[in-house]
């Protein structure tokens, strides 16, 4: 378990050390139906939930040249819903004993003034995209199958084109730091999706 940072301030609400455990993969458009079918069978019985979200990634550049990155997301299908602001920490991929990528994660629900506010804080939008797809849950696990769309004209979420002919598949769990046993569950769940999808621990660094 990580030692808490030295300068811990009294925090009035929220949990400090939440970690996101993540496995990623993709599925071709023509195999989407089979995957959804399988997920409907495997996951908790809930009404099928779809979403259409617009995500904007904001950067804050400091003097040390260490930009700080925040993600602001909002639903296109229900515009009155709160916005979702997310911070993601550095991923820990090196540890072979873990079956999933692990990283720090802070989720904040905010009012709709978020873009203006981030701008005032000094953040600038770096890129944006639209994600449309399906959400499934199994216990504390969450499976998101989504198609990514490139935004052609900045800010106009109507004018988009698909990024590829595949859907992104992500399996994630949010847990307090140190609960590595969740990655076991995730692995066994990922096994059940083979050979349709191979969910893996992907280090994004490798693809730059």
């Amino acid at each position: 378990m990580e030692a808490p940072p030295v300068t811990v301030m009294p925090v009035t609400g929220g949990a400090i050390n939440m970690m996101e455990y993540l496995l990623q993969g993709s599925v071709l458009d023509q195999a989407l139906e089979s995957l959804l079918h399988r997920l409907r069978g495997l996951c908790d019985n809930m009404e099928p939930e779809t979403f259409a979200d617009h995500e904007m990634v904001h950067l804050l550049k400091g003097q040390q040249g260490q930009p700080f990155l925040l993600r602001a997301r909002h639903s296109l299908s229900s515009p009155t819903d709160p916005w979702h602001l997310r911070y993601l920490g550095q991923p820990e991929v090196g540890d072979k004993s873990r079956h999933a990528l692990v990283r720090n994660c802070v989720d904040v629900a905010t009012s709709q003034s978020l873009p203006d506010f981030l701008n005032e804080m000094g953040f600038r939008m770096d890129h944006e995209f639209v994600a449309k797809g399906h959400i499934f849950r199994k216990g504390s696990m969450k499976v998101v199958v989504s198609k990514l769309w490139r935004v052609l004209v900045p800010g106009n979420t109507e004018n988009t084109e698909p990024l590829s002919l595949s859907y992104l598949v992500e399996l994630s769990v949010l847990a307090p730091a140190g609960q590595d046993n969740v990655s076991e569950d995730m692995r066994s769940f990922a096994e059940q999706l083979k050979p349709l999808v191979h969910l893996e621990k992907i280090d994004p660094k490798k693809h730059t």
Binding site: L28, V57, L165
Partner: protein, 280 residues
């Protein structure tokens, strides 16, 4: 004396046969009991193989009993006569104990059921009818009917078996030929959500994953006239998505300049922004 001796020997044989029959039947009973218990109480954990095992055990025991009865040394039970000597409406503790409390009284009511050697008269009548029916049909007709039934059964079996083969072959084909995912797409998508590769308005590395090419960019390749042809070659030649090899990326324009004016502007900006975290 000799007569007597033979009678004694027969009696002994009968006794021994009865003893062994009783013990075999007791075994069978125990096996049945335990099986029923399992079915009733452990059905959640009971696997099909273990059910089959139980059946095998039962049939084995039944077989031994049959063998025992057919054995030469076993006197014919059929020739033995049992006569109820005393019927009583009172409870007989010994009897109850012997029968595990199943038959507490040896009375008029139950004796006809327990000592019966023939089926009910109605059942007998029915059996007679069936036998008569069977006799009425000649052996040829019966043979024909048997054949028809066999044919039907084999047809049905074939029909049931075939789809399974089809399905199996289908699955196998899918496993071998049709991939349901594309690893290159996975990488492209992860890179896109991770740091906006191929998405951003400021970064135009425009390198495409080797997978399916997204529609909407017809202006790639031969349509290019003049302009940054060198980059064009790089794009075409780069086998993977590793487009940005070293240094801030120079503006690469896959489409005709007139087609995507917005991209040009942002490209220039990105070229100057050497601070950008995503460009080495």
């Amino acid at each position: 004396m000799r007569e007597h001796g033979r009678g004694q020997r027969e009696e002994k044989q009968l006794e021994a046969a009865t003893e062994s029959l009783i013990s075999r039947v007791a075994h069978l009973k125990n096996a049945l009991q335990s099986f029923i218990y399992k079915l009733e109480h452990e059905y959640e954990r009971l696997t099909w193989p273990s059910v089959l095992d139980n059946f095998a055990l039962l049939s084995g025991q039944l077989n031994t009993i049959n063998k025992l009865l057919k054995n030469e040394k076993t006197p014919s039970f059929r020739n033995q006569v049992i006569i109820p000597l005393l019927l009583s409406p009172d409870r007989d503790e010994d009897l109850a104990k012997l029968t595990e409390q199943r038959v507490p009284v040896f009375s008029h009511e139950i004796v006809p059921d327990h000592l019966r050697t023939k089926p009910d008269p109605e059942v007998e009548e029915q059996e007679k009818q069936v036998n008569a029916e069977a006799a009425r049909i000649g052996p040829d007709v019966a043979q024909k009917q048997i054949q028809t039934l066999n044919k039907l059964c084999s047809n049905l079996l074939e029909k049931l078996n075939n789809p399974r083969e089809d399905r199996d072959s289908e699955n196998a084909a899918m496993r071998q030929n049709k991939q349901s995912f594309n690893p290159a797409d996975t990488n492209a998508l992860v890179a896109a959500v991770g740091f906006g590769k191929n998405l951003s308005n400021t970064m135009q590395t425009k390198c495409r994953p080797p997978g399916p090419v997204a529609p909407g960019h017809p202006g790639q390749g031969p349509m290019m006239t003049g302009g940054p042809t060198l980059q064009q070659v790089t794009i075409g030649g780069t086998p993977s998505h590793q487009g940005a090899i070293g240094g801030p990326v120079a503006p690469q324009q896959p489409g005709q300049p007139g087609k995507m004016p917005s991209n040009i502007k942002t490209n220039i900006k990105s070229a100057s922004a050497s601070m950008h975290p995503y460009n080495r």
